[in-house]
Amino acid sequence: MPMAPDELVAVIAEEVEDLRFGEILAADITKETLLWSVAAHTKSLGLESVELFELVYRVEARTQLKFPEDFELVSITSVGDFARRLMPS
């Protein structure tokens, strides 16, 4: 059965929690949460590029969903954006 958008957001949140073990709780993450600082002084999870790369791997491996070949890491901004782009259209 295909995953609902909210379920996917929850999966991403869990993977962020594992990725930043002990620092970030899945429960504190919503679809609006920014993954990295898109502009100065914005509040975000502050993931570095290699962590974004790891997060993409983790979520793809767990959900078996796949980003398109030509996507760029820094084009993903928020958790919701991550989920939307990964959901099959």
Binding site: R20, F21, E54, R62
Partner: protein, 615 residues
């Protein structure tokens, strides 16, 4: 339980074990999670372990990982796989593509970090080969020379051992089917560079065969253009545990942590069915149904030929258990391949203890292969130091399960490796003979032992280096010199050193002893003295002491000094010096002792009367 839930449960338990300092449980969980081979789980485990303390009793090493690519994730996976091999490692990841500048500059961060191992994790883009060559031999030679000079730089500027990743070769390297036939094609040259580097590595450089690993994973799965574009990592994150596991296994083998003995269950492990019920001709072995078991036996025998000792641990009547070895036409393994055979109705932990005792090795040298999950669970619970391999359902997959075990790796081979299993079998025969002898003297005499003592030379150095890292029981000082350090020590002016080879009526045990002493004034002080556990209890130490004393006297020395540093495993040599006539000089609160023997006052000691010295 679904796979993902199981993983989360294991990770949760690992967190709890870290919190509670429950090291035995944590070790089991690390084994299980790493052996599952899932990159995400290993990365999560790595973060959990960062919050815990060091692994008690584990060697602590520093590894410099220099990649020609972004190696951050690899570095984290490598650290966890090293931990799975019982090694507490700090892994420093050096910047992408900096291997040239870092290795060439004696003042670089690489050398300042004083690593124990430098892993050169390079990928095919770094091959300095033309697309097509009109002089391929010359180009291949030049490329091999380039990498060898990098190894030499590292060896000249540090004490680190080099671990070199051979090139995984993508299909993109190939123009078409003709490449394999054209010596000047880039692909053909790359294959020869890999082979040339493996041959040139000798015993100084450890080699990870990434092209084989990529082939096993499937090259389409291994290489990942998107990962390269996004993060400059040339392979998929999924496959990271494969080269990490092989790298960790080789480092563990180099540190002497590889396992010595594969203990085999019989029913549904070496053959299909239950021998006690089906009889020799009713078991599944050979033919279409039993070919998987035959292949597995071939693999096991190949391990034996590389020096892994084989033992049998089976719940069976002994006569039933032995009958296929003696009578079944498709048995590849013979009784003579098995160094210790235990078949009884005793619990397996009890049998394993007996096997370790017979072979004179620790329980932590054993790897059990058993199809029965209940037996495996019992051994894990009662003997956590024994490694246990989970066999898959199908016998066709047994080989892969055993081959993937990281602690059955071998960094390099010596002649003694091949002879080791025979030597342990001979030890078992000798032990039986000892039980039949009336007195210890009768036993020694009946063994008809002879020994040969010779200075350490280029031929014996690799075996000596292997013994120095692997010998735990008869090792008075337990100094773990690298091969390079040993070469320097034996070359020191005045150094006294020799190896000992022992033969008896059952076998030639090969090179089994080593003694090294440094001299100062009229004193020779022991630096290393060790004996292989295969020949402990043969009185060889008495003959070695005799040779040492003779050498010292010939060099005009008067005092022989030896120290004993207690470890968890070397208590059997705690009384070595007093047994040989040394006098106690001092004892430290940690149990370390210092002893002296005065050649002028006490005279030359007698060698063992039971061992003939060969000239």
């Amino acid at each position: 339980m679904p796979d993902n839930e199981m993983a989360r449960d294991l990770l949760r338990r690992a967190r709890e074990a870290v919190r509670d300092d429950a090291h035995t449980i944590l070790r089991q969980l690390v084994r299980e999670l790493v052996d599952r081979g899932d990159t995400g789980e290993i990365l999560s485990l790595g973060r959990i372990l960062e919050n815990g303390g060091p692994l008690p009793g584990a060697p602590r090493i520093r590894v410099a990982l220099i990649g020609s690519f972004t190696a951050d994730l690899l570095g984290r996976v490598l650290r966890v796989t090293l931990r799975r091999c019982g090694i507490d490692a700090v892994v420093d990841v050096h910047g992408i593509g900096q291997y040239g500048s870092q290795t060439a500059d004696p003042g670089s961060d690489l050398y300042r970090s004083d690593p124990d191992f430098v892993v050169l994790a390079v990928h095919h883009d770094e091959l300095g080969l033309p697309d097509h060559s009109t002089s391929p031999e010359k180009d291949v030679e030049a490329e091999i020379r380039r990498w060898r000079s990098l190894w030499r730089s590292i060896q000249a500027n540090s004490r680190a051992r080099v671990v070199h990743w051979l090139f995984a070769l993508p299909d993109d390297l190939v123009v078409n089917a003709l490449d394999v036939r054209l010596p000047g094609s880039r692909y053909s040259m790359a294959v020869r560079v890999n082979a040339g580097l493996a041959a040139a590595a000798g015993k100084d450089v450890l080699v990870v065969d990434c092209d084989r690993l990529a082939g096993a994973a499937g090259k389409l799965a291994w290489f990942d253009d998107r990962s390269w574009r996004l993060a400059k990592q040339p392979f998929a994150s999924d496959v990271l545990p494969l080269p990490a596991r092989e790298t960790a296994g080789l480092i563990a083998a180099d540190l002497g942590l590889a396992k010595k003995c594969l203990v085999l269950d019989l029913d549904n492990t070496l053959w299909g069915g239950v021998i006690g019920e089906a009889g020799v001709h009713g078991i599944v072995l050979g033919g279409d149904a039993g070919e998987g078991f035959v292949r597995f036996q071939r693999h096991v025998r190949a391990l034996k030929e590389r020096g892994i000792i084989l033992a049998v641990c089976s719940k069976n009547n002994p006569a039933d258990a032995k009958s296929p070895f003696q009578e079944h036409p498709d048995m590849v393994l013979r009784l003579s391949d098995i160094s210790s055979f235990s078949a009884s109705w005793d619990p397996k932990p009890e049998q394993l203890r007996r096997i370790a005792g017979h072979l004179g090795i620790g329980l932590d040298s054993l790897v059990l292969v058993d199809d029965d999950p209940v037996e495996r669970a019992q051994v894990r619970a009662l003997l956590p130091e024994v490694e246990v391999i989970d066999l898959p359902e199908s016998a066709w997959e047994y080989v892969r399960a055993v081959r993937n075990h990281p602690l059955l790796q071998q960094a390099w081979a010596t002649e003694e490796d091949a002879a080791r299993a025979d030597s342990y079998r001979a030890r078992e025969q000798a032990k039986q003979y000892e039980e039949e002898s009336d007195t210890l003297e009768d036993f020694y005499r009946g063994l008809e032992m002879s020994a040969r003592f010779a200075p350490v030379d280029a031929n014996s150095l690799p075996r000596v280096a292997q013994m120095v890292v692997k010998t735990n029981q008869f090792n008075v000082l337990s100094r773990r010199h690298s091969a390079a350090e040993l070469a320097e020590l034996v070359a020191e002016p005045g150094a006294l050193h020799f190896t000992a080879r022992l033969r008896d009526r059952f076998t030639d045990h090969g090179l089994v002893g080593f003694l090294l002493a440094r001299t100062d004034g009229d004193t020779a002080e022991m630096d290393s003295w060790l004996l292989s556990c295969r020949v402990i209890g043969r009185d060889l130490e008495r003959s070695m002491f005799g040779v040492f004393a003779r050498q010292a006297a010939a060099a005009g020395l008067r005092r022989l000094v030896g120290e004993y540093f207690p470890t968890q495993k070397n208590h059997l040599v705690a009384d070595l010096y007093p047994r040989l006539g040394f006098t106690l000089v001092r004892e430290a609160p940690d149990g370390a002792t210092r002893w002296q023997y005065d050649l002028v006052q006490q005279g030359l000691p007698e060698p063992s009367p039971f061992i003939k010295e060969e000239s």
